[in-house]
Amino acid sequence: MPDLRLGVDLGETHAEAVVLDDSDRVLARARTPVGENVEASLRATLDAVSDGEGVDPRRITRAVLGSAAALEAVERRRGLRRVAVLRIGAPLTLAIPPLATWPAALRGAVSAGEVVVSGGAEYDGRMVLPLDEVAVTRFLATVAGAAESVAVTSLFSPISPEHELAAAELVRRELGGSMRVSLSHEIGTMGLLERENASVLNAALFGVVEGLLETMRQTLEPRHIDAELFIAKGDGTVMTPEHSLRFPVHMLGSGPASAIRGGAWLSGAVDGVTFDVAARGATVGMLVNGRPHERTAPIDLAGIGANLRLPEILTLALGGGAIDERALTATLEIAARVQPVATYVVLGHGAAARELAGRLARVGEAIVPGDGEVARAVGLVIAPAGGRADRICVNRESARATTLQAARADALAHAIHAGADPDGVRIVEIEEVPLSGLLDPPIRIAVRAAGPLA
């Protein structure tokens, strides 16, 4: 069991940090506005919690960082790497070229060139065409010098990643071992366009996460904090720094997930609705069975459709102090569709939070937990590590059983790799859906595992 634990959230408008002791008491908390100099805000926030009573920075053994850096980089098109976009699937998939659905400015900022070459698999894992290695090599030669990373997406790679792995080997050979590659089967699930988009974003964000980890190290070291570091993911779990270097796209959207988790923990609520109150409005999340409720529809990120797992979020404007009754009623109605339990957790300590809580107390149980203004940082400290696996198998009981077992093992292994305690990790969700439209429909099996950090 770690001694002291630090949670730091670097949001778009403010930074917050907490230190928790081994009995989960909040020993220190800090919240500072984030200006143009993010590092200065981080330093100020860390200095503030390090000075807290009972906080000996040397006793901090774990630090969890949440950051909006990836989201800001995409939204402002800043610090993004130029990506060579390789899709393997021709003659299929040619009806829509890579990045064709991206906003022109973002595509221009990210793309170092795009190509579709032949290869890929079918839904049953058959590799029906060889990978066109000549075309891949030719493409890599044209982007050499311009490309700072490579994103590879192969048809049905979640079922059969063979050609993505072979392409990664070609990249290593042609562009050198230091060229970073993002392979779609490690990032997303079925749905080629969204998976490709997520993989390209991932490759574009390699530099952002490197910079962030470096900043974090430079900030922790002089403060004598020698902690094991974890990075928050958009689905409300955390990953190791090594994992985040490979999969920075998973950092997108971590703030809301942390707020929901932190709100749950601080209030003791298992089911309810959380309101993370900031200056301009509240971010509303639904807490179902102790976990943030996830969106089922694809995510629209700066105009890009990507199949990332992020919590369902509503926003409630709170401009000028007065609560817009109509907006609040509409928000509560929508939230109630997902979570009918009228337990409202209001996170914040200002007048706006108090007024909102007072208003919510008239229609349900309103809780304003202590330390709600640093709920994101608290949510980081207590977040579990997670893993997933997604498979398709033929509709035979033996195949189903084997595939389910393999998917469970994969999900558990991924969670452990992301930092979960092997003794505490467990399967939290299994979904089986037959793919209609075929004789003997194959079954898609999706498994999620999560567990506390080791």
Binding site: P91, A95, M190, R337, E432, V433, P434, S436, L438, R444
Partner: protein, 358 residues
């Protein structure tokens, strides 16, 4: 009228409502159609009355697993392959494409193929909704032969088949699909303009466009009213998906869901039986809506249709029922697409107990 970047999003919205739980997601098909009209120009929508008697109309669409199609993105030239195979088999050139199924992705994909071929699209379809089997088309009722049945996989593999009858067309296509990659483009019931005028369900694309416009109405209540008015539908129940069971077998995913009534429908429970589409609605053990009437499950928040594969426990939904096109109401139509055709021992009861006007 032209189908272009301005109205295609409405078309896709409308076709998703006409799926009655099936038909697949139209979002990807919309992206593909938009790309095709951006590259090749808009598609002319022609009315049945504008067809010359000797024109050749080719009904086409996707067959197979819609979920696989989300990954296995089209080459784009499947329409050309289908038309060339028709020319090969019959010596005729195709003058217009028509979606054989207006629902979901299938209502939109032919726009991509038509744009890339420079062909017009006929404002009609073969189903007026989604059905799971290829022979469940109005052209069968009119005695149009399904042959030649053409299947292509986008990889250059093309089958031109001469099925003995309509049901064999479905069997042959379905049997070939697993080998073709789980999803493919199909064409059948190729016909003349004269035949199309009496054999198809007229105005399907116009209806989908109007539905799409209704779906853009401000306010959820108003939107639901507009959708029901466009379809001539009524609301059956508003409530929460309580129980959900899925089983597979018989060639299609199937299952049942129970909707437990909310405020306005207190203590009512409606059981929905589904296969690839919602097929029966039962209350107190009796059928209150049956296929081929369209049983659609809409999200109560947004009015967006929820397909059978996206159905989840706890969803807050409004179930609406709309009348099927007239062609299906005849005894011959009911024999092909009535409850018995899906294995239910229930009489077709045209909107018998649909209650509570929206």
């Amino acid at each position: 009228m032209q189908l272009d970047a301005a109205n295609l999003p409405r078309l896709a919205l409308g076709t998703s409502v006409l799926g009655a739980g099936g038909g697949g997601d139209s979002a990807l098909a919309l992206i593909l159609a938009l790309q095709a009209v951006a590259e090749h120009g808009p598609v002319t929508l022609v009315q049945l009355s504008e067809l010359r008697a000797d024109m050749v109309v080719l009904p086409c669409g996707m067959v197979g697993a819609p979920t696989i199609a989300e990954e296995r993105i089209w080459n784009g030239d499947e329409g050309r392959t289908l038309c060339e195979a028709v020319t090969g088999a019959r010596g005729q050139h195709v003058d217009a494409l028509m979606p054989f199924e207006i629902a979901g992705a299938n209502g939109v994909l032919p726009v991509m193929w038509a744009a890339r071929l420079g062909l017009p699209l006929l404002d009609a379809d073969g189903m007026g909704r989604a059905f799971p089997e290829l022979h469940q088309q109005a052209m069968r009722l009119a005695g149009i032969p399904p042959s030649p049945l053409i299947l292509t996989d986008g990889r250059g593999n093309t089958l031109t088949l001469d099925p003995a009858d309509d049901v064999w067309a479905e069997r042959l296509a379905r049997g070939a699909l697993a080998g073709l990659g789980g999803v493919g483009a199909a064409a059948l019931y190729c016909m003349s303009g004269e035949q199309a005028r009496r054999a198809t369900i007229a105005g399907s694309l116009s209806l989908a466009l109007a539905l799409g416009e209704a779906m853009q109405t401000d306010g959820v209540r108003e939107r639901l009213r507009a959708v029901c008015a466009t379809l001539g539908a009524s609301a059956l129940i508003e409530g929460r998906i309580h129980d959900l069971e899925r089983r597979s077998g018989g060639g299609f995913a199937r299952g049942a869901a129970t909707v437990v009534g909310g405020d306005g429908d207190f203590q009512r429970r409606v059981r929905l039986e589904f296969q690839s589409e919602f097929l029966l609605a039962l209350e107190d053990g009796a059928a209150c809506a049956t296929v081929p009437d369209l049983i659609s499950v809409l999200s109560s928040d947004t009015c967006a249709p929820i397909g059978v594969e996206r159905l989840r426990q706890g969803q807050q939904v409004t179930v609406i029922v709309s009348p099927t096109p007239a062609a299906w109401r005849s005894p011959a139509g009911i024999a092909i697409v009535g409850p018995a055709a899906f294995g239910y021992e229930v009489e077709f009861s045209a909107l018998a107990r649909a209650t509570a006007d929206a």
